[in-house]
Every structure is written in structure tokens, then in C-alpha cells.
Assembly symmetry: C2
Homo-oligomer: 280 residues x 2
């Protein structure tokens, strides 16, 4: 099942053509998005997701998203949803049509969670490291590179995932050319060691994670140490656990990196997954 609501507050058929061929979201990847997990009708981290949508939009010099309008269409999709207990809710916001009056295109699309993601949550994943071609300092020095913005220009993220598949893996850990860990193409990386959780700093040009923030809140409440600090690829092999987290995949453990098995983190993963759930 899928439910689509347009930013003007109307429901629409998700299988119908609704976007013009000259929408800048299509022809220039010029827009931003968020994907929110909804469980039993409750959107998780809606506020942080809308905050991040606004931050991404500002990085792209888009008009500020109408937060109340997005909240309304989220509500409309939730009220209309009659599918599974979990839904992935995508918010999309583009610059509108080329040469138009500047009215952005916006919509919210609710979808079920794929069986593949469900399996990955339970069983973990194999990942590969891939060079993202950015160095520390670049994001600050060159804001026009939009590092850390969740833009619609995700062709590189998708190409990296295909490269992972070619290498027999399901996911990617992006690194700098000098071997510093960044993030996944659609996820945040967290390293666990003892009762300490570490995630790389967003100053490296990576997206601040809503799920990572929720897990860190829950873990800190239970006495874990949480920190934002640089991580080297070598650290991943010696950690107790390596996690790729995102709204839809929740807390997913990496069991194999670049073809090498990582230490078994099944118990650790179960503990952290439960911690994350305790936030809701």
C-alpha cells in the first residue's frame, strides 16, 4: 500500500503522473528530502526530520519549507494509511518548475517497508568501504558542494550501493581518501566499544543522523558514554560492533566489512536495538 499527499493538502494517486518534466527536482536533482519511520501511526523523530529538511533546504537556498503544511500532509498520510504497522514516509521538496514563479514542489509519500530491509534489521549486513573523495575541511571551505545536505542529487549514493552489490555486499561505509570513516550512502555509522558509542563529526561533511541522535539519547540515559569523534577504518575491525543506522533500517549491524568477518555483535546489537526502541 502507498499513500500520497501533496503539499497543498490534497491526496493523490501515487501511480499517476504528477510532476512536470521541467521540475528542477527531476532535471537538476535540485531539491531535498527526508524519510521518516512511522510505527503504529506514530512518526518517529518528526521534529528533527523537519528541522533537517529545513537545514538542507537552506543549504540549497530553497525557500524555507512550510513546516505547518508538511505537518498537515504528514497527518493526512497517517490518517489515510491502512497498511502494515510500519511505514516509510518520504518528504520531498523541490525548487519547482524551471523558469516558473518559484513555487516549490512538495509531497509526502507513505510506503511499506521492504522485506529486504526487514531481513537486514534482523540478520545484519555485509558492507564495503568506498572512497567518497572528500577530505576533512572541505565541507566548511566549499559549502557549494552541499556536503551534509540531504539533496535529491543521490546518483553517487546509488552508484556506491551498486558497487557494493558487485562486491557481494549490501551496504557501503564511505571514507575519506585518507581512511577516515564518514557515513553510509543512506545511513549513519556508529561504532561501539565497551559501553561507549562513537559517530563521526558532521563537520566532515556528513549528514547529522536522526536515528543516531535517538540511540545516543537512549544510551546516555542508560549510562553509556556517547561521543562524536573521528573514526579510522582500522578502528572498525577492532570494535565490539559497527552499526549503520537510519530511520527505516533502524539499528543494523555490519557483520562483514570488505569481505572480512567482524567480531560477533549479535548480542550487542540486540541490546542497542532494544535501547533505541525504548525511546518510543
Amino acid at each position: 500500500m502507498r499513500v500520497l499527499a501533496l503539499l497543498d493538502g490534497t491526496l493523490a494517486d501515487p501511480d499517476a503522473p504528477l510532476i512536470r518534466v521541467d521540475d528542477l527536482g527531476l532535471v537538476r536533482g535540485d531539491g531535498v528530502f527526508e524519510t521518516i519511520l512511522v510505527v503504529d501511526g506514530e512518526p518517529r523523530e518528526l521534529g528533527p526530520h523537519l528541522d533537517r529538511l529545513a537545514r538542507s533546504a537552506a543549504m540549497l537556498d530553497l525557500p524555507e519549507p512550510d513546516r505547518a503544511a508538511f505537518e498537515r500532509v504528514v497527518g493526512l498520510v497517517l490518517d489515510t494509511w491502512a497498511g502494515d504497522s510500519e511505514m516509510a514516509l518520504k518528504l520531498v521538496y523541490t525548487r519547482g518548475v524551471e523558469g516558473g514563479d518559484g513555487t516549490p514542489t512538495g509531497f509526502a509519500l507513505g510506503m511499506g517497508i521492504s522485506p529486504k530491509v526487514m531481513a537486514q534489521r534482523a540478520e545484519g549486513i555485509a558492507a564495503v568501504t568506498l572512497d567518497r573523495g572528500v577530505e576533512p575541511g572541505l565541507a566548511d571551505r566549499a559549502p557549494w558542494l552541499l556536503l551534509g545536505a540531504k539533496s535529491l542529487s543521490y546518483a553517487v549514493n546509488m552508484a556506491a550501493l551498486r558497487e557494493a552489490e558487485r562486491r557481494g555486499a549490501a551496504e557501503v561505509v564511505f571514507t575519506t581518501s585518507s581512511g577516515s570513516v564518514l557515513e553510509g550512502p543512506t545511513s549513519t555509522l556508529i561504532l561501539a566499544r565497551g559501553r561507549r558509542l562513537t559517530t563521526p563529526p558532521s563537520e566532515l561533511g556528513i549528514l547529522p543522523g536522526t536515528t543516531q541522535a535517538a540511540l545516543f539519547r537512549a544510551a546516555a540515559r542508560e549510562g553509556w558514554t556517547t561521543e562524536v569523534a573521528p573514526i579510522d577504518v582500522a578502528d572498525l575491525y577492532s570494535a565490539d560492533g559497527v552499526l549503520l543506522v537510519s530511520s527505516v533500517r533502524k539499528i543494523t549491524r555490519v557483520h562483514t566489512l570488505d569481505g572480512k568477518a567482524l567480531p560477533d555483535s549479535a548480542d550487542l546489537h540486540a541490546e542497542l536495538a532494544a535501547l533505541y526502541e525504548s525511546e518510543y
Copy 2:
């Protein structure tokens, strides 16, 4: 005036919604494009443009574009066009809808040339240099970064142009962090010195230019030396002329770089613009 033809060979209303909200071209910038100049009903460099579309598609692991189908829709747009003598003809090819049967989305959209581009062709432009954050060797080492593919993920290119506007300029010369010249966000850079034309190597991760190739052909025929070689930013200030060339802008001279006036290249520009036209 605008004319739209879909890849299935039908004409469509360019102002009507025709793309689904789950088209991967929209939600992931996952597709490729070309823009072709048409003059008096004759598309310029159609073969090289279709070659490059196929090369970009291969870099994104897209199904090979149906060349005959694209040639048909180009013909359909040309036959239907009743606008000015010049047309910008955009070809778009996306991965199709998410979770669909893999059928790509494709169309050809013919549009007039904006007065702004017409003025820039005649008067030249001010440009700024902006760091593209890539180093030599990266394109070869990390093909998943899609450097040199003309993908729909152009948010960075658009952000760079907005940064240029903020700096009082109309265009951008992308550079490596170490000051080597790359290309413009939607154009190829050519440097002229004496009777020698130089353009940076595509191995740097830049798009091979169709207009640059046409100008080099014409110039070589008239006894110019043409070469593909690295260019440093400092070289731009000492050159006889700096050109940003593309299908729609043709041969456009840069008269100001980072706020500094470059040597007057009006006569040189007129000679090279005429050389380019002599190809058709």
C-alpha cells in the same frame, strides 16, 4: 514555445504532469541528460551527444539508451517546432519508477534560448573559481563518484552557480583543491594562447565537451594547435583568452575572473566563434 516528445514516440503537453513522484530521476537524481543546440532545424553534434548519453548511462549502470528511439523523438520535436531559429533540445533518461519493471523514463524537450544566454554569447561573462573538491586520479580510482557522467544529480552545479551570483559573477570555473582547472558547472573550459587552444583532460573527472570537440576540429583545420593538457588557475590570467563553451552558450568568453579583468579577448572570441560556426 516548447515541444515535448516522450521516448515512446508520442508528443505531450510540456505543461502537463507526466512524471510519477516515485520516478528515480526525481527522488534520487538517478538518470542522465544531454542538451543539444538546434539551428534552423539542424541538431548540432547529435551523434556525439547520443554517444555521451550512452556513456553517462553506462557509468550509472542504466540500460543502454535506445538510440533509434531517441533519434525518432529528436526528429519528432524538430518536425513539430515552430519557434525561433535556435532551440535548446534536452534529452532526459532516468532509471524509471522505484520498484518498477525497470523501464526507463525518457523524453526530449525543445525550448527557446533565453535572452540571458544570448547576451552572454555576445558580451562575455564574469566567472569565479570554486573548489570542486576532487583531486587528480580520483575519477579513475572511484568510478562510483560518477565524475564525468552527465547525471541528473546537478544540485552541486546549481549551488555553484548561485555562489557565483552571490559573488557578482555569472559563471564558475571549477578547480581542484590544488588549483588545477576543471570545467564549468555546465560548460567546458578552453584556454587560448597564440594559435594554440588547450582544454583540461577528461581524466580529471570532467565531462568531454561536444562543443569543445567541434571547435578543436574547426581550429585544427585552420592551422591552430589544439591540445588536451592540465591548466593551472594562474594560466588563466596570462592567457590571450579564456572560454567557457557549451552547446547552448556556444563559445562564450570570460572577461573577468574572480573580480579581476582578463586581457581583452573580444577579437579572439569573434575569430573562434566564427571558426565554430564554420563547422555547420
